[in-house]
């Protein structure tokens, strides 16, 4: 049974005007939902091929450094967020052995909650970020790749690399409408124990529907510059965001979620 207000769907992605079979969903609407949920589940549970991604990083002319957390499986990852926030012993030793010279930004990539997101958008976003960072003459370390990481993993990596700023690109929790969204979290003076209130977040990076790679890289460049200049990140940095930057994207659907302080754990 079709609902005559179906044209209102142009105002929202919400599943309105689906019609009904008795009290239930019509079959087609039910199966559409199942496909969306299946895509989200796959994005969460598919492992991430770090070696293939590393080759892509090297093809960009960058050094890729593969690291690990103590997480043994995706199931383990989901149940023990604390284990996704730290390196395993071998990775810790590897970083200690090579970090001598201070750098400006430690760049880290993890699949987080969506392997699909890093595979779809990770390399292109990285390329855009490297481009803006190099134009700003920032000193970067190796591109650190770590499967099954949480945002706070960037604290330990950033500290071991003696970085002024840690930036982690991470797959966001898949929703039904978007299973391939990336987020970026930035933390000034990364140290184990940094809280989420000390981070800034750029979320919903997922062209063409979400934020573009270039827009995300531009916002990251701004936040990076301000964080390094003022020596802080998090809530205080957000409060000083110039209005023009926030207004820049008022025409796009994701404008309000682009820059917010992170409360992800």
């Amino acid at each position: 049974m079709n609902d005559p207000w179906h044209p209102l769907r142009r105002f929202t992605q919400a599943r309105i005007a689906q019609g009904r079979s008795g009290c239930g969903l019509p079959t087609s609407a039910l199966l559409d939902f199942q496909i969306a949920h299946a895509a989200a589940r796959d994005a969460v549970h598919q492992p991430w091929s770090i070696d293939r991604f590393a080759k892509g990083v090297e093809a960009l002319g960058l050094e890729a450094l593969s690291l690990s957390t103590p997480v043994a499986s995706r199931v383990h990852y989901l149940q023990r967020p604390d284990q996704g926030r730290c390196l395993d012993e071998a990775s810790r030793r590897l970083l200690k052995s090579r970090a001598v010279e201070a750098i400006d930004v430690a760049l880290i990539i993890s699949n987080g909650l969506s392997s699909t997101a890093v595979d779809c958008h990770g390399l292109a976003l990285l390329e855009a970020i490297i481009d803006t960072y190099q134009r700003n003459s920032l000193r970067l370390g190796p591109i650190c790749l770590a499967a099954n990481g949480r945002v706070a993993l960037s604290d330990e990596i950033g500290a071991l690399l003696n970085a002024r700023l840690a930036v982690i690109i991470v797959g966001e929790r898949p929703g039904l409408s978007a299973a391939d969204s990336l987020g970026i979290y930035l933390t000034y003076a990364p140290r184990i124990g940094n809280t989420d209130a000390e981070r800034n977040c750029i979320s919903n990076i997922r062209p063409p529907d979400g934020l573009s790679y270039q827009a995300a890289a531009a916002k990251l460049a701004y936040l990076t510059h301000e964080a390094l200049r003022r020596g802080l990140s998090g809530v205080q940095l957000k409060d000083d965001m110039p209005k023009w930057l926030l207004e820049l994207d008022d025409s796009t659907p994701e404008s309000k979620s682009i820059i917010s302080t992170a409360f992800l754990r």
Binding site: D82, R173, P174, L176
Partner: protein
């Protein structure tokens, strides 16, 4: 006091009451993450047996969290009504379960005599059917523009969220929900941003829709309590004051609130004179105290029950346990979510609260819509006051799945439940329902739809 048992030659020692409570909890990820859970199924079962022998009054004599450090503990002790407690004062936790199951009378007088830890304790030794059977006898009725929680009724919160708070997108979801018979508990929006101007726009939009169409329901924009207070100062049309609450002072502090702030907010809402005494809307969820690192070694379900002591201090219109939202590190799968939903509903009702449930899950939990169907049906039998109504069960702003307008229709149909009486009459009057608690075939001609251009200032 020491809690110990010897079973089949093995000694089990539980250091104190809160350890015993945690070990006796049905298995869940949050307690395992916190390192509080039983080490084995046998230890859990033994802990439940030991807990059954604990006198109820132990929870008054041995507070799980010291009152000198925690205002929620102080509130629990100050409000404990010895006269109301008297009928069960001599019972142990196990005897209390028997008493609850054997008794068939109204339990509402008991609520003031129960500390939340007593409700939590007895729930830990109850089967799912026990939780349903006893909760069903606890009717908690509240009223604003309609009456919620009457026997034989099931209400819904219409949740028309939009990722950018676009007023047209929100209006489209509200219209869809109303035309499917949803929205009698509240039309409640989670705003994408807590910004004052933004929240004000949404409040005005909801107020206009409700008053123009004379809908017997109430509105809420689920912003931080301080945002609502500032908007009330500016004369905004605030029906219900929302706040997320937790079961310890420290967890509440992490939400930016304390009891004094909530008292101030309620007094402001009263002074607006928009409703009666039921002016607050609280949301809770197992794991919030752990997430704030403010649980003091108390298990997630007991912390949750303590949040209900905070809620009942303010006579809310609605309390909503958002049961699977927080993720698999707290409730791992459908089994844990279902159990937690039944526990929360039971404890809340026993403590005298108008409990609803956001029956939900995230995509990284081992759960799906079938689990939601199960919990939905169980809570319908248990007499839950209201559930969520979200287009297609898919919240496009918060990126999680809950229950849909269709789900509420299903539940009303299979259990013979009706919306709140005033709202049901409105649905009949608007041609949305057919006078027999079902959607009307002629609702496509409902004035609401033909007036949609006036509904939110847009062309349909």
């Amino acid at each position: 006091m020491n809690y110990a048992a010897t079973v089949q030659g093995r000694n089990f020692n539980f250091r104190n009451l809160k350890t015993l409570m945690a070990k006796a909890s049905p298995r869940r990820a949050a307690d395992e993450l916190a390192g509080l859970a039983a080490d084995s199924e046998v230890e859990r079962a033994i802990a439940q047996r030991v807990l059954a022998e604990v006198p109820l009054k132990a929870f008054i004599e041995e507070p799980l969290i010291a009152p000198e450090h925690d205002e929620v503990s102080r509130l629990i002790l100050e409000r404990h009504d010895a006269a109301a407690f008297a009928p069960v004062a001599a019972l142990t936790v196990g005897e209390f379960r028997d008493w609850l199951l054997a008794d068939s009378s109204d339990l509402s007088a008991l609520a003031a005599g129960l500390a939340p830890e007593m409700a939590a304790a007895v729930s830990k030794i109850m089967r799912n059917q026990d939780l349903i059977a006893v909760a069903r006898r606890c009717r908690v009725v509240t009223r604003f523009r309609d009456t919620i929680g009457l026997p034989g009724r099931l209400s819904t919160r219409l949740q028309p969220n939009h990722p950018t708070d676009d007023p047209r997108g929100i209006a489209a979801s509200i219209l869809d929900g109303l035309l499917y018979g949803s929205g009698d508990a509240v039309i409640g929006i989670n705003p994408a941003t807590d910004n004052l101007d933004n929240v004000l726009i949404l409040l005005n939009q909801l107020d206009e829709i409700i008053s123009r169409h004379e809908i017997p329901t109430q509105s809420c924009v689920l912003s931080h309590v301080t945002t609502s207070m500032e908007l009330m100062r500016r004369g905004a049309p605030v029906d219900l004051v929302f706040q997320s609450i937790a079961g310890t002072e420290a967890a509440n502090r992490s939400f930016g609130i304390d009891l004094a702030l909530l008292r101030e907010a309620k007094a402001m809402a009263e002074s607006l004179g928009r409703g009666g005494n039921h002016l607050m809307y609280f949301e809770t969820g197992q794991g919030s105290a752990l997430s704030a690192n403010a649980h003091y070694g108390v298990d997630a379900q007991t912390c949750e029950a303590r949040a209900y002591a905070v809620a009942r201090e303010f006579s809310p219109l609605l309390v909503n346990t958002v049961v699977g939202f927080i993720g698999p590190e707290y409730l791992y799968d459908g089994k844990q979510i279902i159990r937690a939903g039944l526990e929360d509903h039971f404890c809340g009702k026993l403590l005298g609260l108008p409990m609803g449930c956001d029956i939900c899950y995230t995509n990284h939990a081992e759960a799906d819509q079938n689990d939601m169907d199960n919990l939905l049906t169980l809570l319908g039998v248990a007499g839950c006051n209201y559930i969520m109504g979200i287009p297609g069960a898919d919240d496009i702003m918060l990126a999680y799945q809950s229950t849909s307008f269709h789900d509420a229709l299903y539940l009303r149909q299979v259990l013979g439940l009706r919306p709140a009486p005033e709202f049901e009459a409105w649905l009949d009057r608007m041609g949305i329902f057919d006078g027999r608690n079902s959607l009307s075939d002629s609702r496509i001609a409902a004035p609401l739809l033909s007036h949609f251009s006036g509904f939110a200032g847009i062309q349909a």
